[in-house]
Every structure is written in C-alpha cells, then in structure tokens.
Symmetry: C2
Subunit: 231 residues, 2 copies
DNA sequence: CCGTTGCAAGAGCACTGCTCTTTTTTGTGT
DNA sequence: ACACAAAAAAGAGCAGTGCTCTTGCAACGG
C-alpha cells in the first residue's frame, strides 16, 4: 500500500497495452469478417501469443465482444455528436437530417460494427449495463435537437392518442424531463424508424429495390423529421 | 428411362420425408437457440443419423439455413396476407396498421426466425435468388393496400423532391406499375421504417425505454400510415 | 534476496463444418 | 427371383473453435 503505485503502474501499463492490442486486432478482424468469424485463437495467433494467454485479459469471447460493442456505440455516438456540432444552429429539421446522414455514413463505413450493435443480438447474450451509456449517446443527440426545437417556433403540434399518454409521460420523465410527452413519443418512433432505414440498406433488403440510396435516404430522413414535427 | 417414374417416386418420397424431417428439426433448434447455434451435427444426432449422411440432403449448413430463410419469409408473408384478408375492405389506414400489427406479432412469436431474415446477414453469405419471391410476399401485401387506397379517396397528396423523381419512377415501374412515383417512394420508406420499429423492439433497443410496447407500436404504426398518405 | 503474484505456455476436452472412403441398403430391369 | 447399379448411411479424419487446468517462468515488492 506504500509506493506500489509505480509498480502497479508498470504492470498496469503493460497490461493496458496488451489489452489495447487485443482489442485493436479484434476490431480488425471484426471489420474484415464480421462478429461470427471473430476468433480468439486467430487474434492470439496474430498477436504472437497462445490462445490461453488471452483469457488473462478477457475472460471470454463475449466479454471481448462487449468491449467492441461499447467502442462501436461510442464511435457512432461521436459521429452523431460531430454532425450535430457541424450543423450549428441550423433549423432543427436540418440538424436532424444531418445527424441521420451521419449515422448512415458511419454505418456504411463500418458495416460489421453497425451489425454488431443494431443487428440480431447473439442469442443467450444480454448486453450488460456497461453498454448503456455508450448506447445512449446517439439518442442524446436527437433529444438535444428536439429540446432546441421545442424552445424555438419550429415544432409542429403532434397528436398523441389518449391510450399512449401515460407511457409518453413516463417516457418523457425518464428520457428528458424538459420534453413534452408528445415530442418524446414522436422522437422515439423516429429514432427506431431511422435505424430501420439504415439497417434495410445495410442488410441488403434494398437490393433490387432502391438504386439511388443516397437520395432515397435523404428523402426518407426528411419525411422522418416532418413526421416528428420538425420543419 | 422407361417406367422409372414410380421408382424415382419411391426414392423421392423417402428423400422428401427425410429432407422435411431435417428441416423440421433444424427449425426446432433455430427457434430454441438461434441461427448461430444451429449445428448440423446436433440435427443429425437428434434424428439418429450420422452427420455426414446429412450432406446428402443439404450440401452445406448455409443451404440448410437458406431453406429456413425461405420458410421464414413465407410464414411472415402468410401472416401478413391473412391480416390483409381479415381486414377486408376496411379503410386503407386500418388495413395498413392491421398488417403492421401482424408483422410485429409474427416477429414476437418467432424471434429467431425474424432475426434470421431481418437481422444482420451472415458475412460472406449472399441470399440466393431463390429467396426473392418469398421475401417479396409481405411487400406485396403493402403494395396492395396502397393500390386500393389510390383508387379510393383515402390517399393524401405526397411530396416528392425533384431529385428523387427519377428513382421513384423507376421504383414504381419495377414494383407496381399502377402506383404513382409519390406513393411508391412513400411506401418503401414506410416499409423500412416498420421493420425498424419491430427490430428495435425485438433486438432489445427498447429495453429501459419503452414499457408499453403494444400501445407504442400502435401509435407508431398509425404515424407510419399517416406519413405515407393514408388516413 | 526470497517469496508472492502475474503472465505465458502447453496439453487437452468437447465441440463445430466438411470431405473422403467404405459399407450397407434398396428399388428395380432382366 | 436375382444380380446389379444407384442411393444412402456410416466411419474415420482434418482443421478449426471456445475454454480449462496445470505447469514453468519472470518480474516485482517486502
């Protein structure tokens, strides 16, 4: 308990470096071949260590995947945040579509990472609590846009069926207390629908259907914004 | 080349029975543990045969999965068609939401089958042409609803940006020549967004966000219908 | 300077998909 | 009825997987 900080620091530094190298190589393999093909043994092989040594750093393949999931959520969140910043104080609808485009662009650039977080979850694998904050980042960006819109004049009246009011109120309270229930509900719906558009494009459902994906997405995102009361 | 039809018939019957049994057991395992855990050896074991014998019926695991994919598309398509029929000549918006609910219900009842067709595709696996007709069934139901709506008075004017007009015209020509480009574009967008809603619920993105999934979905589906010009 | 602790390595288990070879069954044409 | 070719099943085997357990080694700390 005395001066062991440097000692621990030495060990810990090495440990962190190896951990980072493992994650890096794993991400490389993920990007190349997808999550199902990610193999601990292959990662170890590439790093010149034996497979069992890897278990000192990640207790299981799932834990390694979890680390990659968090990174992916963070990367997507960062991309969304950057798009929001770049949009500055443009009209809310423009901010919204800008963030949508950023999400799509990130997904197209990192298809396997996208599939890891928004594709079918691995059965028997429940995303641990640790992923929640990273996963929330993108949603937070959208919430911010609607928060701003609510203050300005750019937000249309939104219908909210009586039967959904309690849920929408709970939702608003949980998500962002300064949003009206109407806005909160519309926001969540738009959020899910946005990822429907991206997933369909990425997972091949638009093959032989949509040619001009770029323009179609812009059109659909605009519709999304409109449906959620923006613009 | 003479009367070998009966001979082939006898062999073929046995063959079909075994093929069906394999698919049945595979579907059982798929429903139980998901696609990644589906194992040829386990299927063979359960059927009391040795694993290599299975390759006489399905040349690879992927081919078996393809068969299950087609079945899943067909089952979902059938569910959608049934919902459409049950809705009869209700207003288009009601028909639309009814089909949406049917899609969601089927997905909730068959999560792994849903994940197989609308989740992340297995990398390196390209859905062969054979899946296309089955995959189109659900889309056809939606197209039918909009076709009907276009004849009645229940279809609102839809905006279509100039830049998307060529694509929308091509889309309408490919998909359903009797739909206007405006309707075709809106339809495809709604289609993708519908599956975004279902996937988010099924893949756990609504955990800790939406409680009352039932009502929220109804609300969102209504919004989808409205956004596509219905009601 | 010696002991604890952290790490690496090796061997091994129970699996997987898939291939190749050998044996058995089976439906039939003569 | 029987011999024969085609189809099916079985077996062995290869290369790979996640994961565990034991053993050796090296570095750090009192």
């Amino acid at each position: 308990m005395t001066g062991m900080t440097t000692a621990q620091g030495a060990r810990a530094r090495a440990r962190n470096e190896v951990t980072a190298a493992i994650k890096e190589e794993a991400r490389r393999q993920l990007a190349a071949d997808g999550a199902v093909k990610l193999s601990l043994r292959a990662v170890a092989r590439e790093l010149g260590m034996v497979s069992s040594a890897l278990y000192r750093y990640f207790p299981s393949r799932d834990e390694l995947l979890t680390a990659l999931i968090i990174d992916a959520y963070d990367a997507l969140g960062a991309a969304a945040e950057k798009a929001r910043e770049d949009a500055g104080d443009a009209p809310p609808a423009a901010c919204f579509t800008a963030v949508c485009e950023a999400v799509r662009a990130w997904a197209l650039a990192h298809p396997h990472e996208y599939a890891l977080i928004y594709g079918s979850p691995v059965p028997g694998y429940a995303a641990p609590e640790t992923t929640i904050p990273a996963a929330a980042r993108t949603g937070m960006v959208l919430i911010g846009i609607f928060r701003d819109a609510q203050q300005g004049p750019g937000l249309a009246e939104l219908p909210l069926p009586d039967e959904l009011r309690p849920e929408a109120e709970r939702l608003a309270a949980d998500l962002a207390p300064d949003l009206t229930p109407e806005v909160a509900a519309a926001l969540v719906a738009a959020w899910a629908q946005l990822f429907g558009l991206v997933s369909f494009e990425l997972f091949g459902q638009f093959n032989n259907v949509i040619e001009d994906r770029e323009r179609f997405f812009r059109y659909a995102a605009t519709g999304l914004a409109h449906g959620a009361g923006l613009g």
